[in-house]
């Protein structure tokens, strides 16, 4: 028996296929684009094809993410918070704080010893501290978003980007370039700005994070510069699971298996 989890985010649509022993058979990440349904079909087709399994063999599908209600033939739709918690419990058991930074939102999720959600804080009202912020800054710096991740390697200095707002930060970056600052110093400053934003989100639910095993998911977790800046700001190690963008979809697939066997 096979179980499918689909996470329809604002920027990407992710799918994970597991079997009865909770083994991950395949995962995919495709751009969401303007048409949700096409992205859902593409993401699902991709995992089925790489696992050589036909659609009919899928026992149950659970959807999550902001477009979760768009998935047809689903067993149920579950919130991102629950799915992320379930996914990280499978990959990094013992995690007590999960930071998830995606394309258009950022979340801090506190978990108990059993991986159950205790509390969470979320920003989806403003682009500050999200993947969109990084994307806009990469554009202003005229560097590729993938390259940006490596740019603060070895960068020091305490350059601070004073604007939280993406639009204002973009002009700030342009003037910093004009002042002759090095690109890697600016990237370092931007990463620190995301880190401080993330830290204030965490502080809303956990005033003291000392001793908390911390993991990070979402597309931004693949950006090593941001991860390093967050680790430094929290004075704690941040562990990144394999394929951090598909934690929500993995959680959805695991929930599909659990709910199906319960019924």
């Amino acid at each position: 028996m096979y179980y499918l989890g689909i996470d329809i985010g604002s920027l990407t649509c992710d799918a994970v296929l597991i079997d009865d022993s909770e083994k991950i058979l395949a995962s995919s990440v495709v751009p969401t684009g303007a048409r949700n349904r096409e992205a859902i079909t593409r993401a699902a087709d991709e995992v089925l094809r790489s696992a050589c399994i036909s659609e009919k063999e899928v026992t149950a599908t659970v959807s999550t993410g902001y477009g979760r209600k768009r998935v047809e033939g689903r067993l149920t739709a579950v919130t991102e918070i629950t799915c992320h918690a379930r996914g990280i419990k499978a990959l990094l058991p013992g995690t007590r704080l999960l930071i998830d930074i995606g394309g258009q939102d950022s979340k801090a999720i506190e978990l108990d010893e059993n991986g159950q959600v205790v509390d969470f804080a979320m920003n989806d009202k403003c682009a500050a501290g999200t993947g969109r912020f990084l994307e806009a800054m990469a554009r202003a710096l005229q560097v590729d978003i993938e390259v940006m991740s490596e740019l603060d390697n070895g960068a020091r200095g305490d350059l601070t980007i004073s604007s939280m707002c993406t639009v204002f930060a973009e002009s700030e970056v342009v003037s910093l370039i004009a002042e002759g600052l090095k690109v890697n110093e600016i990237v370092h400053g931007l990463n620190r700005s995301i880190a401080s934003r993330t830290l204030s989100l965490i502080k809303r639910i956990i005033p003291d994070i000392a001793g908390f095993p911390i993991a990070m998911s979402g597309g931004v977790a693949r950006n090593s510069g941001v991860v390093r800046a967050i680790s430094n700001a929290m004075k704690s190690k941040v562990v990144i699971p394999p394929m951090p963008d598909t934690i929500g979809a993995l959680g959805a697939a695991l929930i599909a298996r659990e709910r199906y066997s319960h019924n």
Binding site: A34, Q104, K125, C126, A127, A128, R132, F133, A136, S163, M164, C165, T166, V167, F168
Partner: protein
Amino acid sequence: MITAGIDLGSLSTKVLILEDDDILSTSILTTEEEGALVAKKAMDEAIKKAHISFEELKNIVSTGYGRRLVPFAKESKSEMLCHAKGSHWLFPKARTIIDVGAESSKAIRINEGGAVEDFAGNDKCAAGTGVFLDTMAKALEVPLEEIGQLSLEHKGKAQISSMCAVFAESEVVSHIHKGIPRNDILAGIHESIADRIFGMLNRIGMKNDVVMTGGVAKNIGMVRALEEKLGTKIYVSEYPQMIGALGAALIARNSK
């Protein structure tokens, strides 16, 4: 007595020269260089237009976010104070001032004498500012000067639910993809800013008459959207961008 006010804003630098109750000249330059340099250029231009020499200026007051960068100003005053002063001088019945500039928006309540009673503002984020409108105009590929008029020629109104300029931009793009008419999208954009300003006015308690200042007051669509939202007439001078500089020049005159 001749005095000058200089308003060094994030987008433009304004100078106004006043002789008693007459405005001798004004100048406006884009703040694209170092503050002190733009300030000097704008001042030189205003002096030339007024046919006076710099030495004839008895007092100079600066305002705006870069007010401390003006080397020749004798004093610097907050934008809030200068907008209150300038608006009260032009519209003695004004009790509420809405100032929307490039990177900030404010609501100011003043008393009969023009003194500030309460104030609310946003300069932390682009929501509800001129930059927000500029971003949307670019997404729609319409010149900024035309968006106000175009917004008035709408049939329906598109919903813009995001406050954040970045997210609102994506909303606008998806409205375009859906084939929603440009004018309807613009009407929605103006309404969303009006909602934001309405919230600020509620915090301070709005009183009539209402005056609007700042560059965004030149946008007729914005003024109409606000009038509709507030249910009251909004007074706008013919040079709303100069009100901060005017207030500064008036303060310069009175403190001499």
